[in-house]
Symmetry: D2
Subunit: 312 residues, 4 copies
């Protein structure tokens, strides 16, 4: 393992360098001013193995909001809070091939039941299932859970991003009311949206993502503390969704070209893992037309192919 | 004309009687408790000619909320307030073949622009275009306009229906936020929905509808007062939409079988007209699967075929 | 009437001249070489009144294939051969808002039943309902019927167009097999397609279209011969479809802006009528993005508005 | 390994017995008479490890046609014949969430390019890419390849099934002409369909499937002969598609509940594999509403969970 981490440390700078130019084909998200500020050409990565050894390169110290990456862990918390049966009575298990904010399938198939927990409709549904006596408590429980997983007590929300999303998030509001109108979503829509936008706005860097991913790579136990944070079966479910639906409607291509469980976010972050071996955090704000980090995917493809890491 | 109204007065009771049984195949709307109270087998009709002569039969004195029928006249008011160009930059002119609350076409074609002003998405858009300095003033202008058209100063909102719709109207809320999220709808969504639900909740009876329809039958001038209430071109636009999109996704069939400009509502009301000759109001709360009055359509089909009134 | 035809004869050249430039925004159909040959800037029109008086202007003597315009008369023949009930068990009555060759609704709603007889799926279905003991006899019956309607014994097929369409018409073939696979279309697909492409390839000029339209304008009787060629009810059905679905997914806009029953074809032809008064034939090969003659629509809009001919 | 195969041999009969009753909830395919003959309650399985040791139970000796299972290996052959770039210019990599014979996405997204090689549209496209100078030679090459993979020189087509499919396969014919009409499919449609229906009609039993699967489990090399039959990268692509799209629009659920690369067919067969360890063949003709073997999936779920075989 030592040898592998050394190889990674040596090669990473070059791989990052050759991936950066791919950023130029993409665009930084600009639907809220906070995201638009991110550097177009930034690219950073951190890999963390089960002994706690790091390999990092590029702008790996950059901070960014988790956005859709948080959906992996709210799904996990919802499964721990409610059990599989309850969760899957409210959200499906299938990839869709549609855009992340598409409502097409909601209307056409089994009306109102989101196809999977990683499209926006599904993630909003999942947010509504988190236990807690108030919106504040639910959001606090999520943040606390993320702190444990990242082993970082300093995680916090980006209040500006949160408020901007809340104000401008009309398409997500539309989705939530559609779910409400079809009797799938219980509770107050605005409260659910606050929970949703709240966990999307949690600030992390590549090391945080790598640590959070490492817990999944080790089936729920943090290998560096020995603590079991997530039941094995729940991790299995999460990793399966990351493989089939983790990269929006480019998940199939990512599975073919990279072959690692992963989840991307609109801030340009990607969380990925090599089962039993590595947690990985990537940031590259320039997005391709499917909403994934253009340079980040390029970088992961290079690493996975060089290291022969595809799970397939 | 005298002869025709006499024939109608004589035949109507029998035609109503033979149409009532068709109610049994339908269902009274029940998404809010106020609508659910309506009598399943009620059926009433009033026809009014240009001399002010009435022919009525059945439960024609029953009161009911206008619901989607109001969309004809808010479209007219929006056209009078804004002109054709402005209105048709925000809403299309095409029938859809989809359900009245479908969002399918919103997503697939020219995103966010409702296909026509009579589907819910289009009517909500139209409500947002009514002039006025506040929601109250806009709603008041609409009511005032309807009073003039019905020549009835006692028209008022059903407050219970209004509040029930406002509370439970999550699918319409979803549509409105979708329009907002796509940059088509300006202004505050809840305010627009209040205007929309407000005009849907205006209480009328068959005579009110017949009088309002008669104004359209006479190209915008009330033949009984001689007042020009609507410009001719605006009436032409309204009658065209009534013909191509007035009966939800059964408009094509209605055009073939009845052949009169008409508009239906979920309370079971139908407003129809015979150009130059009659305004018609119908009420029959039991709805078919497309959302139109089951017995009401049957009755109009019988009358139109017997009287040879199809405009085609 | 004399005065009107004189006014038309006087004004038409100017109206044609001012409409021609609109051709530049469109494109001549080029999916088969025969259509691509048509002159991009050609525009011609013939109007024919019930006394047999003509008004013509521009390239009105040009010959072209009827294409989708023929669908009006094959529907009529199918209704005369089979009755309403049989025909409408195989094809619907609703406008769709989708492209003419879209299969979307076929799959989503009441699978396999085309939404109306003027989209390709519906017209292919209708072609399969024409009576006759063989494909040749069916095609011959159609041609004979068209000859009577146009009062022109010289009507014939354009064999080159027919064979080109047959060879390249894979999307229509796809539609036909879809109908066959869903148990809606009986008989041999290739035979049905031959009938379909055969009537689409009938050659006409503006005068032929005007005469065929005049029969519909006069409720089925040719006013110049006094012969009843089509039952009144069948004409009524045809005129209704022309109004709600005659111009593909721009039918709603055409109804608002022109307000006449009409049917367009991909060769750039338009057949229209003024009830009780005029049959109209137009040719203008440059098509807009909905597949209708760009300059032809412009011209009809001008005439209808100047003459106040909208039926609404 | 010895111990595991012994455990399997001991437990399998009981697992089969407890899975059989699930057949009652499903239906045997009946669109052609040959498939309808299959026994509704049949259920059989064969597992084969890398030492050539078998564990079998139930009706494992039953013969059936491969149907969609063949799509895995024609994709492989097409990739070996043409390379990744060529194949993926004609077919996508994404799961769809739609029915196997849906044309929805073909029309809506990147028209004419099938979403993945396992839906019918994609598999027909792939069939057209197999090299050979004639339809007969292409079909012969496919059969020869399958014989090598199954190590069974007696594999042959079921001529009755082939001819029935060819005669009744109008929806597949519709799909093929749609691809042709959009310029994606080259060559003669009927010839391509013959190749497609031909490989779907290859007769196998559970042992054949297990052997063919074992080659994939061992990254392309038959562990019992030592022959490299498929390049490693091509196997990787095939296994990825099996995981994301192998069970029609229930692939996501299968990944969560079973977690093995697999492919099902309408005859009730399922091919699955445990990477590096087992090839598996299952037959159970009664299908659930997604088109997968009802009892077969139940059985695989039981085995995978008991043996902890999920790859996630």
């Amino acid at each position: 393992m030592n040898i592998e981490i050394e190889k990674l440390r040596k090669q990473l700078p070059e791989w990052v360098k050759s991936s950066v130019p791919h950023s130029s084909a993409g665009k930084v998200a600009s639907y809220i001013p906070e995201l638009a500020k991110a550097s177009h050409d930034a690219l950073g990565i951190t890999l963390l193995n089960t002994k706690g050894e790091f390999a990092s390169a590029g702008n790996f110290e950059m901070c960014f909001t988790m956005q859709s990456i948080s959906k992996v862990y709210t799904l996990i918390l919802a499964l721990m809070d409610n059990g599989e049966d309850k969760v899957f009575s409210k959200v499906g298990m299938e990839p869709t091939g549609d855009n992340f904010n598409s409502m097409l399938k909601l209307e056409l198939v089994r009306p109102g039941i989101p196809f999977n927990p990683f499209i926006n409709a599904g993630a909003i549904m999942v947010s509504s299932l988190i236990h807690g006596s108030s919106q504040q408590e639910k959001s606090e429980r999520i943040l606390q859970f993320f702190k444990e997983l990242a082993n970082n007590n300093n995680l916090k929300h980006d209040e500006d991003v949160f408020h901007s999303e809340l104000e401008s998030g009309h398409l997500n509001r539309s989705i939530a009311y559609f779910l409400k109108g079809n009797g799938v979503l219980d509770g107050d829509v605005e409260e659910v949206l606050q929970i949703y936008f709240c966990h999307c706005s949690i600030l992390v860097n590549c090391a945080d993502l790598a640590r959070m991913a490492l817990v999944l790579a080790c089936d729920g136990t943090d290998p560096l503390t020995g603590k079991e944070l997530i039941p094995h079966r729940v991790v299995q479910i999460a990793k399966t969704f990351m493989t089939t639906c983790g990269m929006y409607n480019a998940s199939g291509e990512f599975a073919i070209q990279v072959g690692l469980p992963a989840k991307s976010g609109v801030s340009g972050g990607i969380l990925a893992l090599v089962p039993g071996r590595y947690g990985i955090g990537v940031i590259g704000p320039s997005l391709n037309d499917k909403g994934n980090s253009q340079a980040g995917i390029e970088l992961l493809e290079k690493i996975s192919q060089e290291m022969k890491w595809s799970i397939f």
